[in-house]
Amino acid sequence: MSKFRLLSWVSLLIIASMLLAACAPTATEVPPPPTEAPATEAPVVTEAPATEAPIEPPPPAEAKVVTFIWTQEFDTLNPLYTQMWFVTALFPVYVCQAWWFDDQNSPIPNLVTEIPSVENGSISEDQRTITLKLRDDIVWSDGTPITSADFKFTYDMLMADGNAVASRSPYDLMASLETPDERTVVVTFPEPYAPWLSSLFSGSSGISIVPAHILQPVFDAEGTIDTAEWNTAPTVSCGPFVFDEWQSGSFARFVANDNFWLGRPKLDELFFRFVPDDASMIAALVAGDGDVGTFFAYSDVPQLEEAGITILNSFSGFNEGWYINMHPEKGNPALKDVRVRQALAYAFNREKLVQDVLLGLTNVAATDYDNSPWIDPSITPYPYDPEKATALLAEAGWTDTNGDGTVDKDGVELVLKYGTTNREVRQDTQAVAQQDLAAVGIGTDLQSYDSDLFFSSYAEDGPSANFSLDIIEYSDAPNFPDPDSSVWRCSEIPTDDNPVGVNTSGLCDEKLEALFVQQESQVDFNERQQTLYEITRYIFDQAYWIGIWQDPDLFGFSNRMINVKMSGAIPFFNIAEWDVTP
């Protein structure tokens, strides 16, 4: 009897848990696509011939649902509180910005009527004031008009001390944000601010506006919107899709926004399934349980392609390369000689690495600015030339005097400490590089770390920031598509006084610093491009950074998906156009 009771209790518990789990809101029925023709088109009326038998109403169209296999769950959906790629990549899905970037990384208006420029008068002559002219037809998903007040409110929320927002950049650099009327937003900077295009209410690292009519009452009542319900359930938003449901750890669902001013999207629903394991993501895509996945290992690509998955590269400014430790005191003295740095580039057969390890799916990177308009087009990667590497080393005084296979100078052997994260492809790269460098007499001491440990700050004694390594491998694109980068700035060298500095190579080159300062205030694209050409050429010639491979974000799409285009800056910029084959 007791055993029977025990079993009964266990069974009841299981059933109760199952019901609890299943009691969460069930799949939302997606409304069928509107049957009315767009307002701009004249309605077509067809009369049924009287002689024909009554036609049975067609079965309701099956909802067009696209399933994303998303390896990281969102932290929050409030764009003010997140910099997480797995959320910012979805900005074009559920929020709106002043402009997006297309597949050529060119800006395309979203909330504004035109992209500001000096020519159209939206940028002042002194280049300090930028005016955003808003469209007349923009509305939140609940039908409330989007006005300049929403921009002002977003700005105020960013700057409010009660709100622990993710970043205030570049809003804390502004002198003012004014809204002379409902359709105009005027932003003034104290100095010309060149990166405005990729960060002013735009860009993946920028900010999307938030609805004042929803969040203002929350802020007034609580003095903060940190814990607002809208942050995890933005049921009123302004993208082509609108939030419907998010079940922690399991899935999130966005449905078509019927009030989207550019027209209802072609898909009815986007379903994001959170699957943190890479191997499971691959299995789910291969099995057809998902339509979209991303961040594949290169070695998984053949299997995906065999299963009919189309791979699209999104060049988001990331280029894998070696940052050479140039710290004035802590850097390896051998690497202060440009000839030794260039020898590293000539000695490493990166073309072979790209073919063998990365399956030829990308290219050798020449500079940190590859696949952007900022790289001097005359730059090509250093070719593989071990003889030249040996000659450069000899010219710099490094030869193998004791016959142990490693070059030396003044009794010191050239052995470099080379560290990166323990990502598989990086460890493979280390092994190949070690072999190639050894062939010209350069020894390497390989180090690999967990990613969070490797990227810990100087204050945390992170190996990428404490100057204990001679070669530091990773990729970085802080403000893509903007070229501004603090990793080369003298003021960003980590020190005891500035333990969170991001210049992990410790380089402070006067000429480079002057060029970076110059481009900071060049609002004119062409002028700035010329300065960046000079910067990229200089870094390349000095071999301060040695490129390994261009590191695009790999996206996979099932073969039923059509109209998909990818932007490096805003991957899903045309998601409203995506469709599936019947």
Partner: protein, 343 residues
């Protein structure tokens, strides 16, 4: 017995206090929560300083612990960075039922944990039930049929399954029963998740999606537990009281299930009692591979972002559960073995 339970509960209070302090200090060494707030780029220096101030991460560790424990509504905080503490705190502290706010999503810890608990219990309780039932059946069968061909096959199989890593079994099962079965045109299981978006979250869908995770969670434990049961049953079956029961002419079923199994179950109770608290913690590897939204994944996600409030919430919940289940195990011991008396 009541006095014994009360005494054990009172002893648990200082123990939990010490556990919380140790865990809190260890958590501070898990990484920098601000480092991950910049997404793919390094958190800007100005933002780092501001966030540390607003989130109270610039305070000494013991002050942070005190705030976590008793709240900070009695203290003032400098929110605007002018060096003057002007804003009253809002946290009430764990002792007043406020487990804090997650650094990752700014949601209350109780909500964050609560959203996952039912999913974890569903998966883990089902798996535990499967484990216990299957292990009992296999263990008893093996003990009653010692050294037969079937017993030898079971023994070999249990050793194979016991030594197989969970992730390997999980991925192998996924590729065979989900990916390849589909490719071969056979009835197939789903790869990941709790339900199909088109079908919705129905009990049938959830049950269907549980098959592979439950199988993965169970196989190793069934193998291990069945060996324990086999050996304890073999020992019990050789005891005088079993011989006496047989000599009295009791039916074999009664001899095995009432006299032998009840006595053989004592060590199993200890093992299961140790397992039960960790049911709340979920299964990190299995949940990760099958995309099951449970506590294991929650723990991993928030540890990786150094989210002290959520991680402390989960760990303290498990600590309490360990203590409670240990007391329950002691009570069960007394029920199973009349010779045991607690004072």
């Amino acid at each position: 017995m009541t006095r014994y339970i009360l005494r054990r509960l009172l002893q648990a209070i200082p123990l939990l206090f010490i556990i919380s302090l140790v865990l809190f200090i260890l958590m501070q060494n898990m990484g920098d929560p601000l480092a991950t707030m910049g997404g793919r780029k390094v958190t800007r220096t100005e933002d780092r300083i501001r966030l540390a101030r607003q989130l109270g991460l610039d305070k000494p560790i013991l002050v942070q612990y005190v705030y976590w424990l008793v709240g900070n509504d009695w203290a003032k905080t400098d929110m605007d960075g002018d060096g003057v503490a002007e804003t009253s705190g809002t946290r009430k502290g764990v002792l007043r039922g406020d487990w804090g706010i997650s650094l990752v999503n700014r949601q209350p810890v109780t909500k964050v944990v609560g959203e996952r608990l039912s999913n974890t219990l569903l998966l883990m309780v089902t798996a535990e039930a499967v484990i216990i039932i299957a292990a009992l059946l296999i263990g008893i069968y093996s003990a009653l049929n010692q050294y037969t061909a079937v017993d030898n096959v079971i023994t070999a199989a249990t050793f194979i399954f016991y030594s197989m890593p969970v992730f390997f079994f999980a991925l192998l099962a996924m590729y065979i029963f989900a990916v390849n079965f589909k490719k071969w045109g056979l009835p197939y299981l789903p790869t990941v998740g709790m339900f199909e978006p088109a079908a919705g979250q129905t009990p049938a869908q959830v049950a269907w999606h549980m098959v592979l995770p439950v199988a993965t969670l169970s196989f190793g434990f069934i193998a291990g537990y069945s060996r324990y049961i086999r050996s304890t049953m073999l020992e019990a079956m050789g005891q005088d009281y079993v011989r006496t029961a047989k000599a009295k002419g009791l039916p074999r079923r009664e001899v095995v299930y009432i006299h032998a199994l009840k006595n053989a179950a004592l060590p199993i109770v200890t093992i299961i009692a140790l397992d039960l608290p960790f049911l709340l913690g979920g299964a990190i590897v299995t949940e990760r591979i099958f995309g099951w939204p449970g506590m294991g994944r929650l723990f991993l996600d928030h540890v990786s972002r150094s989210d002290t409030a959520v991680v402390m919430g989960i760990l303290m919940m498990i600590a309490v559960a360990v203590i409670v289940f240990q007391i329950l195990a002691d009570v069960t011991y007394a029920w199973l073995d009349p010779r045991i008396r607690y004072k």
